[in-house]
């Protein structure tokens, strides 16, 4: 306990404990220079039709492809090209060398909520943390290890490492204090000058609690409070510089995520593109999915471009340390139904873009019955004697990329080491 206390006492005496909220760091300063890969998770909830971009299953009797679609190849990336989706082609032209497409990944359910849990946690049980939360729990040096801008997140027991911005902009309101003005009843707030004095006294109280604690439990709580207070004050200091108002758009989420990563605020961000209602195309599949894909890839193109031109706290382009993980919790049936829609299918694809994976590559696939093909996890090549890749294999791979040993969390699950660069 002594070491922990010393550490936290030092933390309170560090720049995190400077006097005033909002003045902890010089303008343009950063919070941290932590190592390790950063992640941006992009979720397309509702179930995308993999045959419209990722899986060119032309010429198969049991698959309904679009009439105007063609199979295309850019470098090592084979994909479905369509005149209504120029952004897909543009994306792979620009970033195909950094892109890895994983096809035929099993999500062993066909219910949205179960699939979402399976995709992100590998389990359908309540309380199981998702991959970002597991990485976040091991990333304690970050102010906010995982920042969720929109969409589902399953922190499990690691709620302290996962922070949502809130659907109503609650985090921004908390940080700048404006939420106080929206609450009723309320009274006049203290001036910034007095609030600075209060902040200092709050820090002193946290230090005193740490010193006064005599039991293991009290020490743990006091230390955790001191740690949380330090992070909260650090977070508050950079809050004015971040574009918290996303306007409910994907571009807004991208701007906030990139800014947060650039300031060293978080190790990973969770973004969502559109809603379950949008992607869940039980009727008019192509009229609905095609424009979504077009917008998604336009947004991803902008995201990768921003990561290239935005520097991290160490002065390196963010793209050199960031992996984008684009997911949807299920695929869609190979054949159109009577409403020109497609229903739920338990095999999906994943798009990984950036550092850590071998780009210019498509791995995995579907057989003629649209079931996943087996893969050798050590090479990423198809292998009938290999494994059927499911969401837990993706999870183990992401954990490995983050420097977290997956064997302690996912027994008997091999990470897909053949996908890593």
């Amino acid at each position: 306990m002594l070491t922990r206390r010393q550490l936290l006492a030092a933390a309170l005496a560090s720049p995190l404990a400077l006097p005033a909220l909002g003045a902890l760091f010089p303008a343009g300063g950063s919070l941290s220079t932590q190592g390790g890969l950063r992640f941006i998770y992009v979720l397309a909830p509702g179930g995308w039709d993999t045959t419209r971009v990722f899986m060119p299953q032309f010429g198969q009797d049991l698959v309904d492809m679009e009439a105007d679609a063609t199979s295309a190849q850019i470098g090592g990336i084979s994909f479905v090209d369509h005149p209504d989706r120029p952004s897909v082609r543009a994306f792979f032209q620009a970033w195909g060398a950094r892109s890895l497409v994983l096809n035929g990944m099993l999500v062993p359910s066909v219910a949205h909520r179960a699939c979402m849990r399976l995709l992100l946690t590998g389990s359908i049980a309540d309380g199981q943390p998702d991959w970002p939360a597991l990485v976040a729990a091991a990333s304690t040096d970050w102010t906010i290890p995982h920042l969720v801008l929109d969409g589902p997140a399953f922190p499990g027991p690691y709620g302290g490492s996962v922070v949502r911005t809130g659907s109503g902009g609650q985090l921004a309101g908390l940080l700048d204090g404006s939420i106080v003005d929206r609450v009723t009843p309320s009274a006049g707030r203290l001036s910034p000058e007095l609030l600075a004095l209060v902040d200092q006294r709050a820090r002193d109280r946290a230090s005193a609690a740490l010193e006064r604690a005599t039991t293991t439990r009290d020490q743990g709580l006091a230390a955790a409070h001191a740690d949380a207070l330090g992070r909260a004050l650090a977070l508050t200091s950079v809050a004015p510089d971040l574009p918290w108002d996303t306007g409910g758009t994907f571009d807004g989420q991208v701007d906030l995520a990139v800014a947060a990563l650039a300031r060293g605020l978080c190790r990973s961000c969770g973004l969502t593109f559109a809603t379950e209602r949008d992607w869940d195309s039980h009727y008019l599949n192509d009229e609905r999915q095609s424009p979504l894909y077009e917008s998604l890839f336009a947004g991803l193109d902008r995201l990768v471009g921003l990561l290239d031109t935005t520097l991290d706290p160490d002065g390196a382009p963010l793209s050199q340390r960031t992996l984008i993980v684009v997911l949807s919790e299920m695929g869609r049936t190979p054949l159109l139904n009577g409403s020109k829609g497609k229903d739920h299918w338990p095999y999906t694809s994943a798009l990984l873009v950036g550092t850590g994976v071998t780009g210019d590559r498509v791995v995995g696939g579907l057989d003629e019955g649209s079931a996943g093909l087996y893969m050798d996890p050590s090479t990423g090549e198809l292998d009938a004697k290999g494994i059927e890749v499911s969401t837990v294999h993706l999870g183990a791979t992401l954990l490995t990329l983050a420097g977290v040993d997956p064997s302690e969390l996912l027994s008997d699950i091999d990470p897909l080491l053949g996908l890593l660069s």
């Binding site: 066909v110 309380g127 499990g156 203290l190 006294r201 009290d218 207070l229």
Partner: protein
């Protein structure tokens, strides 16, 4: 449960507040002192910090704490606490349901979410506060309803009064206690293909502590999930499926009467549909049953569940979970056995179990090293709000929404709470955002407490209009510490608080603003987040 000492109460009452201040209270941090034990009891059982008078009495007569515990277990305030305590277990209080308020012609979405999410928990609370057997969670032919629930469901309330009243369904649904609540089925949904299994699992998880979803699932490659016949065949024959489905599917077959079929009709969601009870014949092929016993339907289910292995141990486990922590109950088999005995001896009453937990070292030895993993507890998000807001008698609203009971506009998960769908475990330690919530709540409460026209109980009007002499200032600071932290300040704290006051005055702040600063900082003390 012993009787209170009326003479002492009377004496302290006559002495009044100033007399209480003269009693030497320990600034110690261990709960072998009764004031800390009282604070825990007050927070756990009524959601408020104890008053100065109550703390003073606890010091003079430590045994009076048990009187207070007994009284709070019988007080109306227990109901809200039970809802808060069991909320993270039942997970019915979500930010959205199958349909919004507008589907029922209701305009107040926050109120709709509160009522729907709370109804099952209010049933639980009524079972406890009326000291009825815990089995009535699943066997009662009555329920509770507020005016909103009575508008959207076929319910007849005992009276037209506001709040939660006893009520009865008028659509002849089977007696399933809290599991008759529309909220259960708006929260835990099912498709035909799912065949009510998610609802059966919710019941099993909540009442039997047996979560089928927590079991490892292995879906063989040969199982064609989209081919219904093949999937049903696998469920019946594939060993990897059978193990769970043989148990789960008969339970699920009992819930078809709650099945919704048509999205547009409000009655679909809140009315019982007896004609659909036989849908299992089409969708699962497995008839109603429970733990190997075939039954006629849901009207026979409740007593079987209440008599099942696991029902009692689950009840006891949950009582210990809500008042202690998971780690404690696992490490305290003797305490668990004592709680079990209390349950049995009382005829299955939860109030007796709660009382038994409060009499055990794991709950009472707060702050003592001997308690091991026991000790102080981080308070929940709702308790953080209620304990602070209670100091100024306020109920906070954020654009019409509650402050910590939702995430649509509120701060529930940011404060460490549970959202019922994604965040299903409360925070067990302070987080950056929960500390921020504490800071903003502190601002709100201190602002209200020092308003000129709202002197309240924390300040006398004279405190705020002019600087006090040293003795009076120290008395006021001690009083604030007692109200906020349930302990007096140390001498160092007193000096530091005074320094803050003086520094604030030096900036030109009024006495009221200087006290506002002192109180804001006090409310941000780490100990304000635990009991």
């Amino acid at each position: 449960m012993r009787g209170r000492l009326p003479g002492l109460w009377l004496g302290l009452g006559l002495l009044g507040l100033s007399a209480c201040k003269k009693i030497e209270l320990s600034p110690g941090t261990t709960l072998d002192d009764p004031q800390a034990l009282l604070a825990r009891a007050s927070m756990d059982l009524r959601g408020q910090r104890p008053s100065e008078q109550e703390l003073a009495l606890a010091v003079v007569d430590p045994a009076s704490v048990d009187d207070d515990i007994a009284a709070w277990l019988d007080a109306p305030t227990l109901s809200d606490r039970l809802v808060a305590l069991w909320g993270p277990i039942w997970l019915t209080q979500a930010d959205e349901y199958l349909v919004p308020a507008a589907a029922f012609g209701e305009q107040d979405e926050p109120a709709f979410l509160r009522s729907v999410g709370q109804q099952p928990l209010r049933h639980l609370a009524r079972v406890v506060t009326d000291d009825r057997p815990w089995s009535q969670l699943i066997t009662a032919d009555w329920t509770v309803a507020d005016p909103l629930m009575a508008r959207i469901a076929p319910l007849e309330r005992e009276s037209d009064a506001d709040g939660w009243q006893l009520a009865w369904y008028t659509d002849y649904r089977p007696a399933l206690g809290a599991f008759d609540s529309p909220g259960m089925y708006l929260r835990f949904t099912s498709t035909e293909f799912n065949a009510q299994r998610s609802r059966a699992n919710a019941m099993s998880r909540i009442l039997l502590c047996d979560d089928f979803l927590a079991r490892p699932i292995s879906v063989g490659r040969g199982v064609a999930l989209l081919d219904q016949e093949a999937a049903q065949e696998a469920i019946r024959t594939d060993p990897s499926c059978k193990a769970c489905h043989d148990t789960l599917d008969p339970i699920a077959a009992n819930f078809w009467g709650f099945h919704q079929m048509f999205d547009s009709a409000p009655r679909e969601y809140t009315w019982y549909h007896p004609e659909r009870e036989v849908f299992w014949e089409v969708w699962s092929g497995v008839g109603p049953g429970f733990q190997g016993q075939n039954i006629q339907g849901a009207h026979e289910l409740g007593p079987l569940v209440a008599a099942a292995d696991g029902f009692t141990s689950c009840a006891v486990s949950q009582a210990r979970q809500v008042l202690l922590q998971d780690a404690v109950q696992a490490a305290d088999p003797d305490g668990t056995e004592r709680s079990r005995q209390a349950y049995d001896a009382s005829g299955g009453r939860m109030k007796a179990v709660l009382w038994s937990v409060t009499q055990q070292p794991a709950w009472r030895a707060v702050g003592q090293e001997s308690a091991g993993d026991a000790g102080r507890k981080l308070i929940s998000a709702d308790l953080l709000e209620s304990s602070m807001a209670g100091l100024v008698g306020a109920t906070f609203r954020l654009d019409g929404w509650g402050l910590t009971d939702n995430d649509r506009e509120g701060l529930r998960t940011l404060a460490g709470g549970v959202d019922g769908r994604f965040q299903t475990q409360p925070a067990d330690r302070p987080t950056p955002t929960s500390v921020l919530v504490q800071a903003r709540l502190a601002e709100l409460v201190a602002g209200l407490a020092t308003q000129d026209d709202r002197p309240g109980a924390l300040f006398a009007a004279d405190d705020l209009s002019a600087d006090l002499d040293t003795a009076a200032w120290n008395d006021r600071d001690r009083s604030l510490s007692l109200r906020v932290l349930s302990r007096p300040p140390t001498e160092d704290e007193l000096s530091a608080d005074r320094a803050l006051y003086d520094a604030a005055r030096a900036t030109g702040a009024t006495p009221a603003q200087a006290w506002q600063a002192v109180l804001t900082a006090l409310l941000r003390d780490p100990a304000a987040m635990w009991d």
